[in-house]
Subunit: 204 residues, 2 copies
């Protein structure tokens, strides 16, 4: 927990409070576990502060619902009912983005990813959310499904006080360069190495 | 997301289902962010599966309440009210463990940590929880406040189907050896390096 005193104080003319309140671009990358889990944990913490949370799962297999979606949507519902926390939206690519009309049955993941990014970009321009979780967004960036320059420029120049957390392996160097905080999760040891498969409650 | 096919299948006489259902001892370590956040994210996922979750914060400064505590306790309350998810208990050392009577004002963190471990050990023997989050428990282990052999032996031989997640830097080699899954969070880049302090909604 790096709380407390920063290692150095920059000569940027900002007060500590101003600097403290700068919105962050964060990346959880690496081959280890916990990238998305920590991102959703952050989303829950943000909800508790009353933030407007938007989750965008750029996962082509996201037809199934993970536990965090159920919980975060339940928290969003609590917000509507009681005013606790903040509003929550959860969108996923796998079953077709929820804001889109379904267009036939052919799955085109590249198009879906580009559509997802276009929507996120619109929302950033409108300052719709306080926190965006772009889950597994490093892959569309890696595969050329979205334009890396466009992504980095949009994120670096986003208006207002919007926080962004991006997860996925092999984060693009330009994204790492633009980010305020980058954490690498590394697998030291994993039960699958000795033949154990994923299980309910742990993996999903 | 390492879902799917394991790298090798051990010759241990277990079926895939049996192996899948083996309870795990997990460790999130390293100097980077996300160790505790991912652990609490796991706790939320476990809650959603109806598991009985026990969180034990071995943090001497844990007098303040983090967002995850509010949310997990709220989820535990939802369970009591509606039957959704599972029960949740959250205990922290900083203000004196909640199961203990306060004994004067002298703070003795070594004693508090040993008391915390003794309680966790009792609960493990009684199979009280499905998931134990022992947050920042690597430090009492490192500082000799708890006996490493006792901890590792108790965890390795725990009865039933109890999952354990331990967080903190510098996980003890014996703990790493005993664990099924160890993830190291490494700081690649952090905004505090350029003088920005922690902020609400992100750090707590």
């Amino acid at each position: 927990m790096p709380k407390g005193v920063p290692e150095s104080v920059p000569d940027d003319g900002l007060t500590t409070a101003q600097r403290r309140n700068q919105p962050l671009l964060m990346v959880n990358t690496g081959d280890g576990k916990g990238k998305s889990t920590a991102a959703f944990g952050l989303a829950i913490r943000s909800w508790n502060q009353g933030w407007n949370v938007g989750v965008f799962q750029f996962v082509k297999s996201a037809k199934w619902r993970i536990g965090e979606q159920t919980v975060l949507e339940r928290l969003g519902q609590l917000h509507e009912e009681t005013g606790e926390g903040g509003p929550v939206e959860w969108h996923k690519m796998g079953a077709g983005w929820s804001w889109k009309r379904k267009e036939g049955s052919v799955e085109d993941h590249a198009r879906d990813a580009a559509d997802g990014w276009a929507e996120v970009k619109r929302r950033i321009a409108e300052e719709r959310h306080d926190l965006y979780v772009l889950d597994e967004f490093t892959y569309p960036m890696e595969w050329g499904w979205v334009d890396v320059d466009d992504v980095v420029e949009t994120l670096a120049n986003r208006p207002g006080r919007q926080f962004v957390m991006i997860t996925g392996r092999r984060a693009h160097p330009q994204l790492v360069e633009a980010a305020d905080m980058v954490t690498e999760m590394t697998k030291v040891k994993h039960q699958m190495d000795r033949g154990q498969k994923g299980q309910r409650g742990i993996e999903w």
